[in-house]
């Protein structure tokens, strides 16, 4: 099965849309599939199941500079607590990875690219730094997954 890019986020909550905007920018790309989700663990687990390689793109708030890209390897790294805390509803990306691992269905290669955001309120615009990173990330993914 092809690699899968999962864009996580909320379209109407400022920088939280980052993952989805990356996914949308990749629509129609060859060589990998693209999905979007608001970030419930159950959806992410289901999307990942059966894949060999998954790249999850999400927004985060770790306290770093806006627009910074954090690249994490779910297989090698203990996912940081700030990723857990920004994930959807307390049952988001980090929990999805942990849940898939417990159930024995975590794909061999799962990476998480988290874009540092600063504006997360309903109705906020995506901040310029995050917009720039969205473009960079969307530009880099096809070659990265090739």
């Amino acid at each position: 099965m092809k690699p899968l890019v999962i864009g996580v986020g909320n379209d109407f909550a400022g920088d939280d849309a980052a993952g989805r905007l990356v996914a949308r920018a990749l629509a129609g790309a060859a060589g990998f599939d693209v999905a979007e989700t608001h970030g419930a663990a159950a959806d992410i687990v289901t999307l990942m199941e059966g894949r060999d390689r998954v790249l999850i793109v999400d927004a985060c708030a770790s306290g770093a500079a806006a627009g910074r890209l954090h690249r994490l390897d779910a297989g090698a790294d203990d996912l940081p607590s700030w990723l857990r805390s920004v994930s959807s509803h307390g049952i988001g990306v980090a929990e999805a990875v942990a849940l898939a691992r417990v159930l024995g269905i975590l794909p061999p290669r799962v990476e998480i690219w988290a874009i540092e955001g600063v504006a997360f309120c309903t109705g906020d615009a995506v901040s310029p730094q995050v917009q720039a990173t969205i473009r960079e990330v969307a530009g880099a993914i096809p070659a990265y997954l090739a």
């Binding site: 608001h38 289901t46 509803h89 307390g90 849940l99 417990v102 159930l103 997360f120």
Partner: protein, 436 residues
């Protein structure tokens, strides 16, 4: 949580994990009595009501679908019905049947997600679905597999799994191919056993022995079906029976300081309940024979006032949704055109449907060119908020001498009875527990 005295305490949780969105609650206890409860939610419909103003009527289903990641179909179904009333459009039966089928998919997805991953851990003493999965992997795997079959309906009918794009004012963009739905039907037949097993699982849990005499409200369908898609009337267990057009004459939204959502009450100020329990109590006879048999097998009577048993009601409703989807696909024939003609005009329309977690009401006023002059969205959780606060006060009254963490556990479990969809402004969250 440090007790002010042994008899005074405040339990405050600023973020509830495992509810779909952001929420918080506070319970104040003085002299061993609950003196105040507060359930606070952060909810975006106000933003969306403003956001919709000036936009074209045709945008409402897609925009409102994004209010909630869990129940986009509900938002679409209430919005298209309201818009069609405003525009004077009567949609055909095949259009309605396909909408009901889409809704079945969402009920399965949402109910199974909530019951298995969010609520069951409360009953079994786990802090999260992840902890539960370590000891009960089979339950979680069953739930994920079962939920996926709900996803397959939404995907086949709605055009994609999340935020379906095939719904439009007037009908559908395209009627899905019959062959594709037949494939989904095969999955659904396979899901029947999962659905039965899931009912049995939820019924095996230990339920707190608590109940109240709720004012239960749900929609009534014009065709005798179990309430789901077409809310032409609103009924209650206290004799309410009104057309949906009289919603605002009967119910009122109050602003309360602790919440940016408006709280729904009846015009005389009373709390009321929407969701699985009202549907069950008001429409039990409309369930399928198999759903009723499953309920009887697990000892769930036709009258359920214990809100903790809502987890089993959800499981039986999911079984019903599986059967209903099989039936709708069995009768399905492709239709063309997929939509009724839509001509913009000035008007006002109302629509109500049963989101998995309760009744969702929309009202729109349109300008002559079809632009939205005014939008009103009343989600189920806003309507249930006063009931949640009353539950918190009453259900913990007899355990105030227990350790705080035990009280907090029951509070959270109680709130999750409502599957509160307080779909958040963002998925950024910050959990703090203050004691004082």
């Amino acid at each position: 949580m440090s007790d002010v005295t042994k008899r005074d305490k405040t339990i405050k949780v600023d973020m509830l994990a495992r509810v779909e969105g952001e929420g918080a609650f506070k319970v104040e206890v003085k002299d061993n009595k609950v003196v105040h409860t507060e359930f606070r939610i952060f909810e975006p419909p106000r933003f969306f009501e403003a956001f919709l103003q000036g936009r074209d009527h045709s945008e409402a289903p897609d925009i409102t679908a994004r209010i909630c990641g869990i129940c986009p179909v509900a938002y679409q179904m209430s919005s298209v019905q309201a818009m069609e009333m405003a525009l004077g459009i009567e949609v055909s039966q095949p259009i309605k049947d396909l909408r009901r089928l889409l809704y079945c998919g969402e009920w399965i997805e949402s109910h199974v997600l909530h019951a298995a991953m969010l609520h069951a851990p409360d009953f079994l003493g786990y802090a999260s679905a992840l902890d539960m999965a370590k000891d009960h992997p089979d339950v979680v795997k069953l739930a994920l597999e079962y939920k996926k079959i709900g996803n397959s309906i939404v995907s086949a009918v709605g055009g994609r799994e999340i935020h379906p794009i095939n719904v439009k004012v007037g009908g559908w963009w395209k009627a899905p191919p019959k062959a594709k739905l037949r494939e989904v039907q095969e999955n659904l037949k396979r899901a029947l056993d999962m659905a039965e097993a899931f009912v049995d699982f939820t019924a095996s849990l230990d339920f707190p022995d608590k109940e109240r005499d709720y004012h239960m409200v749900c929609i009534e369908e014009p065709n005798g079906l179990y309430p789901m898609y077409e809310g032409t009337r609103l009924i209650s267990n206290r004799g309410l029976d009104i057309p949906v057009t009289e919603f605002n004459d009967t119910f009122d939204e109050h602003h309360v300081k602790q919440s940016n959502a408006l709280q729904g009450r009846t015009r005389d100020g009373g709390a009321y309940l929407t969701g699985p329990l009202p549907r069950w109590n008001l429409a039990y006879d409309k369930l399928s024979d198999r759903a009723k048999a499953a309920a009887e097998r697990v000892g769930l009577g036709r009258e359920v006032k214990n809100p903790y048993r809502s987890i089993t009601v959800r499981a039986v409703e999911s079984l019903y949704a599986v059967e209903e989807a099989i039936r709708l696909i069995e009768d399905y024939e492709e239709f063309d055109p997929a939509s009724m003609p839509v001509t913009p005009r000035a008007g006002t329309g109302m629509g109500a449907s049963e989101a998995p977690r309760g009744m969702l009401f929309h009202q729109y006023t349109l300008e002559p060119d079809g632009a939205i002059a005014k939008a009103q969205i009343v989600p189920p959780t806003a309507q249930n908020q006063p009931s949640i606060e009353e539950d918190l006060a009453e259900y913990i009254a007899d355990i105030l001498d227990r350790p705080d963490d035990e009280i907090q556990w029951l509070c959270e479990q109680t709130i999750r009875n409502y599957d509160p969809c307080i779909s958040c402004a963002t998925h950024f969250l910050d959990l703090t527990i203050e004691r004082g």
